[in-house]
Each structure stands twice: as structure tokens, then as C-alpha cells.
């Protein structure tokens, strides 16, 4: 420990103090000797027991949080897969898409991403939710005729959105 602490110390002192280096080294050594001469106060046994209990509790809470996070991530990705499969199938057979299914899936991803701050700072989760939501909105707009008259172009946008989601999903 001391070797790490005093690594390159002589070299440093020579660089900054030149001829005074030896005296400065002595000042430092004597000052630290005083610190060693006075025994450290120690926490009592009860404090250590309470500390260990606190740490064990924090570990358990952390583990539970990680499990819930995994559970919600799997659920979110499953929701994304369902919406991709559903919309892709609908596009292939050129049938109208039931927007209530899309809306439900969008809501699932939103609920998950907002759950209990589990995904705070999780950019992938936020992106995925935003993409699912955007596609859902586009489909709804197409169905109720809010979209522009250029339907082909609108559908291409939707398909591009789906491809983004699919790509994000497989990236995990």
C-alpha cells in the first residue's frame, strides 16, 4: 500500500522542490507519522451489524429492481413483436388494420416505459416506445382519412417506421 502511495514521490519532489526535496519528504513523513500515532476511532459492533443489514436490504432491493426491469423489457419487446407481426400481415394482404390493436400495443409500451422509473435513462426503451407510438398514430391517421391524399407515400412511411422498430428490436 505504501509503495503505491509513494510511487514516484522522490521524482515528484525533486521536480517541484529541487534542493528542498529531502526536507519536504521529511515534513510529509513526520506529518503522516503523527496520524499513525493516534489510533483511528472505530465504529462499534452494533453499527457494523446495522450496516450489514442495511447493505443486505439494498442488495435485495437492487436484485428485485433488476428482475422487474428484465420482466418489463421482455414484455415491451413482446408487445413490439406483436404489433410488427400484426401490421406486417395486414399490409401483406392489403386489409385495413384494426387501430384498437395498435392503440393497445402503443399503450402497453408507454405504460412499461413509464413504470416506476425503471427505464429512466434507457434510450433504447424510449426510442422503441416512440417508434411504436408514431407508427400507431400514422396508421390511425390513414384509417380515419386525416392523412394526405398521397396514400402510397403514407404507407411507405408506415413501412419504414416498422422496419426501424424491427431493427431496434433485434438489436435488443
Amino acid at each position: 500500500m505504501n509503495s503505491r502511495k509513494n510511487k514516484n514521490l522522490d521524482e515528484l519532489l525533486a521536480r517541484f522542490y529541487g534542493g528542498e526535496a529531502r526536507k519536504v519528504a521529511d515534513d510529509i513523513a513526520q506529518g503522516e507519522r503523527i496520524l499513525r500515532e493516534y489510533p483511528d476511532p472505530k465504529p462499534d459492533e452494533e453499527t457494523i451489524i446495522l450496516l450489514k443489514a442495511k447493505v443486505t436490504k439494498a442488495v435485495a432491493a437492487n436484485r428485485e429492481k433488476a428482475l422487474r426491469r428484465t420482466y418489463y423489457q421482455v414484455a415491451a419487446f413482446a408487445a413490439a413483436v406483436i404489433v410488427i407481426a400484426f401490421i406486417s400481415a395486414a399490409l401483406l394482404v392489403n386489409r385495413p388494420i384494426e387501430s384498437r390493436w395498435v392503440a393497445t400495443t402503443v399503450k402497453v409500451t408507454e405504460d412499461i416505459s413509464q413504470n416506476d422509473e425503471l427505464f429512466y435513462g434507457d434510450e433504447e426503451m424510449t426510442t422503441l416506445s416512440a417508434e411504436v407510438e408514431q407508427v400507431g398514430n400514422e396508421i390511425t391517421a390513414l384509417e380515419i382519412g386525416v392523412a394526405s391524399e398521397d396514400l402510397d407515400s403514407e404507407w411507405i412511411d408506415v413501412e419504414m417506421g416498422l422496419l426501424d422498430i424491427e431493427s431496434d428490436f433485434w438489436k435488443g
Binding site: 514516484n8 514521490l9 472505530k42
Partner: protein, 179 residues
């Protein structure tokens, strides 16, 4: 004192969420970290509180440990906790400035515990300025080199060296005054 291999194994266990390994960390580091907090605050209750905060934060942050010098990593967190405490104390002081009576009461609370036996070293350490005292304690308890401490504090190595030197020299003079 545990060797590097032992520490690595225990830290690996902590990363896997093993409570027993965290318990080992408490046994290995609680005395040293308590000493560090006590020499900075001069207050046993507060030191216990900060020690609890330190280990809770270690549980939260152990995943971010990348295999560097563990003591350095741990004392970086300890130092951050102490600075958080200083900021909070500062904030409280500002809030209480307008109510002098309450302010004085607060000052008494953050001082020593009633009837606490303060050793001579602690009394003299308190005559050093906060920053110098913290640098000396960081070097003494974490055993980090001047270079590592300077990097951690984001200041030139010559500044760190000079502060520690002047602080230790002054401490020796203060200790010798009463001999």
C-alpha cells in the same frame, strides 16, 4: 489486509449481487472509511450516517467498477459523499441565516456529540482548512498516490503536493505547540 486477488474475487461476487461478499467489504473497509469520515467531521453519529450512505451507494454503483484500483474507486465515492454533505450543510446554513437562534442550534448539532472524547489530533486537524484536511485524509486512508489524488480532484499535481505538504507541516507545528 486483503490482497488484490482477494479483493477482486469479493468485488466479482458483489457484482453478482452476493450479499455475503458485500458483508466482507463492510468488514474490510468500514473501519478505515469510518476513520476517514470521523477525521473530516469530528462527529461519530455523522460518520456512521455517512458510512451507511457510502455502502448503500457502493451497492448501487458496483456494476460501474471497471477493475481499476478498488480503494481509489471506493474513496472517490466516499469523497463525493463528504462533498455532498458539505453542500447540504452549506445549504442549511443559508436557509437558517435569517433565523439566528435556529442557526446556532444547527451549528451545535453538526459539531461534536455531547460528551464525546475528542483526541488531540482531531482538535488540531480542525484548525486546518477543509480542503487541506480532506486531501491529507484522502492520502492517508485511501493510500492513493499524489498523481491519483490530483487526477481525482482535477487539479495540478504540484498543487496537491504543495497543499498536503503545507498541511502536514502545519499539523506537526500545531501538535508540537502543546508539548
Amino acid at each position: 489486509m486483503a490482497d488484490n486477488k482477494q479483493i477482486s474475487e469479493i468485488v466479482a461476487g458483489c457484482k453478482d449481487g452476493d450479499s455475503w461478499c458485500f458483508s466482507q467489504l463492510v468488514d474490510m473497509y468500514s473501519h478505515r472509511c469510518y476513520g476517514y469520515f470521523y477525521r473530516l467531521t469530528g462527529n461519530r453519529d455523522l460518520s456512521e450516517e455517512l458510512l451507511g450512505e457510502l455502502f448503500t451507494r457502493i451497492v448501487e454503483k458496483i456494476g460501474s467498477f471497471k477493475g481499476e484500483y478498488f480503494d481509489g474507486w471506493l474513496f472517490r465515492i466516499a469523497s463525493n459523499i463528504f462533498h455532498d454533505h458539505l453542500r447540504e450543510r452549506q445549504r442549511q446554513k443559508k436557509l437558517l441565516e435569517k433565523r439566528r437562534e435556529q442557526f446556532e442550534e444547527q451549528e451545535r448539532e453538526v459539531g461534536h456529540n455531547e460528551g464525546e472524547d475528542i483526541d488531540k489530533l482531531q482538535k488540531k486537524l480542525e484548525q486546518l482548512d477543509d480542503k487541506t484536511r480532506e486531501l491529507i485524509m484522502l492520502r492517508f486512508y485511501s493510500a492513493m498516490s499524489f498523481k491519483e489524488i490530483a487526477e481525482m480532484r482535477g487539479e495540478p499535481i504540484g498543487t496537491t503536493l504543495s497543499k498536503v505538504h503545507r498541511g502536514l507541516k502545519k499539523l506537526r507545528e500545531l501538535m508540537e505547540q502543546e508539548k
